[in-house]
Each structure stands twice: as structure tokens, then as C-alpha cells.
């Protein structure tokens, strides 16, 4: 869990220019971390590469918070 969260955090901080402290499990990519729709697409690509998995467009649309990403990754790897 902590390992996945740390890796997700690192990507989010790098891609969205967010402060690490802001990247909590509850944080919404769009509402709290300032991501627009293209940022989210790019983020999903990064996560796919980082965790070697494929996230379908349908699934990607449902993921809105950091916690949802972490859960998704844990249940798919």
C-alpha cells in the first residue's frame, strides 16, 4: 500500500506540480490538484508505464481521486 502510494505520489507531484502534502488519498485530481482533462490522460499513461498495466478508458473515467488510483492499482497488479 505505502509503496504504491509513494510511487503514485511521485508521479502526481512531477506531472501536476502539486505539493507532496496535497497528494492525500482523498485528493481529487481535478478539484484539489488542478488537473485538466489532458493532465488526467497523461497521468493515466504514466501510471500504466510505472505499474505495467493497462487502464481502459472506461475505468480511467471513473478514477477521480488519488485513493481510487491506489485501489485500482492494488486490485489489478
Amino acid at each position: 500500500m505505502s509503496d504504491v502510494l509513494d510511487r503514485v505520489k511521485r508521479i502526481v507531484v512531477d506531472r501536476l506540480g502539486a505539493d507532496e502534502a496535497e497528494v492525500t488519498l482523498e485528493a481529487s485530481f481535478k478539484d484539489d490538484l488542478g488537473a485538466d482533462s489532458l493532465d488526467v490522460v497523461e497521468l493515466v499513461m504514466e501510471l500504466e508505464d510505472e505499474f505495467d498495466l493497462e487502464i481502459s478508458d472506461e475505468d480511467a473515467e471513473k478514477i477521480t481521486t488519488v485513493g481510487e488510483v491506489v485501489n485500482y492499482i492494488q486490485s489489478h497488479t
Binding site: 506531472r15 501536476l16 506540480g17 489532458l38 490522460v41 499513461m45 508505464d49
Partner: protein, 412 residues
Amino acid sequence: MKHRVVVTGMGVVTALGKDLDTFWNNITNGKSGVSHIESFDVSEYPTQIAASVKDFNPEDYIDRKEARKMDRFVQFAVTAASSALRDSGLNIAEDTDPERVGVMIGSGIGGLGTWEDQHNILLQKGPKRVSPFFIPMMIANMASGHVSILFGAKGPNSTAVTACATGTHSIGDSYKLIQRGDADVMICGGAEATIRPTGLAGFCSMRAMSTRNDEPEKASRPFDSGRDGFVMGEGSGVLILESLEHAQKRGAKIYAEVIGYGLSGDAHHMTEPDPNGPERCMKMAIRDAGIDPNEIDYINAHGTSTPVGDRSETIAIKRALGDHAYKVAISSTKSMTGHLLGAAGGVEGVICGLTLQNGVIAPTINLDNPDPECDLDYVPDEARQCDVQVAMSNSFGFGGHNATIILKKFEA
């Protein structure tokens, strides 16, 4: 009613300086910005030199998250526009109606580096790994787009894409927008960042660039008999144009007045110049300015240092100015800055503004043995003190696009 248009702010990013003072000091001291290309391995390229902008860290000027989504040419444009706005003292949100402030910062080529990077990803990793930012980063209009977003400029917004004439068209078109009352302020100029493998290879294949690799500082030598092509530069030049009423109302400092604009098409060949086009372009600008050709004191030439281009421009100047061609001071500052392609007109517009302001003409360096067919006064090697009243700037681009602007010392 025609509004008078003045230059109230300027900014540059070039190999010879990222601020006006350093830049002006270097070009009036005849310094070359050309050096060996270090940003990638050039060992297989016939041309291995360029006027690269070194030590440019976009995060010094732009928020990191935003900078990541900008091609290098946009980063240059935003940096130059930001400097120009600061120089003008104009705060768009507080001092004026944002809907009367426009942007026209063109690029000859656009995001070539982004294109290369993403094409490599496409080949190596497949289509699903191409960045969602590829298209918005690459398109040539994004300098105008980003600058408007960052500074809240909601007025006329567009982009000229006329190869090496881009910067001058951007300034000229902006001047006309203000003159006819469609805007009070225009942020205008050009930006380019093509010192990349495909950019270098493409111009090499055209045999358009100098191969004087062992003497980079002597490679750009406009009007000299030993010239063998242009040297690529990169960067941006941006001017703040403003209606005279608007500038005076806020007590702005005024560098110069823009008084004329001409543009034409050679209708001749993709890349070979025809002096008729530039001749008509200069004549149109002179007519637009309502001056006599004899009143022109200085021409900042297109002068790229290609064998045919410099000869063609010399012929065109003689036809446009008649006998006065032999009296006017002409220089090609590309001998120092390299050829910034779509940004050249922006940078050279800034140089004309500084020339009028300071009464000094920057030289054409490396003019050791003038080409017998280039027999005008190109202000060789040393800057010249001269109380320039009227300055003209020429830019000509592939496709046969020509643009000329005329600036005058401001008198109320």
C-alpha cells in the same frame, strides 16, 4: 481616423542576451553568438554550428507545471513577452481594458522539438504513448495562445506563419490593427526553436547553411564574398505596440513610432528569391509611411549570408531607394545573432527600436571582402554613431513572403 502607433516595451531571448542591455551591448560591440552545437551529437551533419540560447532554464520565468506543457519556442515567446511587458510598465488587468489588448507572436515552424520527441515515442512505444499535449504543444499558434492566457489579453489574437518573414509580419499586422482602432495594445513578434536534428538536417540538405564549422564566429558573414550560407539561431523578440493616445494617457516611455508596413509575394519560386518581391514590399512600406525614400537613415537588412539572398536584397534596395541606396546605412545583425527564422523580424524590430533610441547602428561583422555585387554601405565590423530618424527592417521568407516595417524616432 488613423491612430498613431508607438513602441513602448521590448524583450528578447537570444544567444547574445536574454535582457535588452546585455543584448544591445553585445551587438553594438560586434560580438558573435555562434558556437558549436552542444545540445545533440552533430558529428554526421555538414553544419555543426548555430547561435544557440544557452543556460535557459524556463522555470526561472514560468511556473514548472506550465513550462512542461510548452515547446521551447513557446517558452522563449513567453519569456520575451514577459520582459517586454515589464519594460513597458503596463499591467493589463489594472491599466487598461483587457479586451483591447491583443497578441500576435508567430513562429516560422512551431514546435519542431516536440514533434521529434513524440514521433520517436510513436515509433518506439506505439500510438497509445503519444502525449495528449503533443498537438497543443507543437502548433505554431501556441505562443500567441499561451501569452494571452498568462497575461489575460482578450483582444485580437492571431499568428502569422510566413517562414522567415513571420516576425515582421506579426509586427506589421499588429501595427495595422491598432492604427485602424481594433486594439489599443498589441504584444507582437516571433519565436523559434529549431536547433534540433530534423531542423538542422533539413536546412543542411537544402545546402542553405554555412559549413564553416571550424570558425563558428566567422560563419555568418552577410554581403562578404566568402559567405557560404546562413547560421541558424533561436529565441524570441517581442514588442509592445500601443496607440499613442493609450501610451500618453498612462505616461509610458516611447521608444519609437511605427509609421509604415509593406508586404508582398514573389510569386516566383519556393525558396529562390526574386528581387521584385522585396522591391515592391519596401516601396509599399515607404508609401504607407508617407515619406520620401531619402528620409530612411538605416535599414536592418534581411541579410542572411546566403550567396543569392544578399545579392537579391541589394538589388531590391537599389530599385526601391534609387540613388539613396548608396547613402543609407545598412546592416545585417544576423552576422551576430544568426538567423532566428520566424523570430528574426521580432529581434530585428527590437534592434531598430534600440537604434532609434540610442543613436547607434549595430554593425555587419565578418565583412572582410565585400562581394563586388554587394556594393552598398553595410556598416562593416564597427558600430556607428548616427542620429537615426527613420529605420526600416526587412524580412523575407521561403514561399516568397516579404515584409517590411518602418520605424521613426518619436516626436509628439
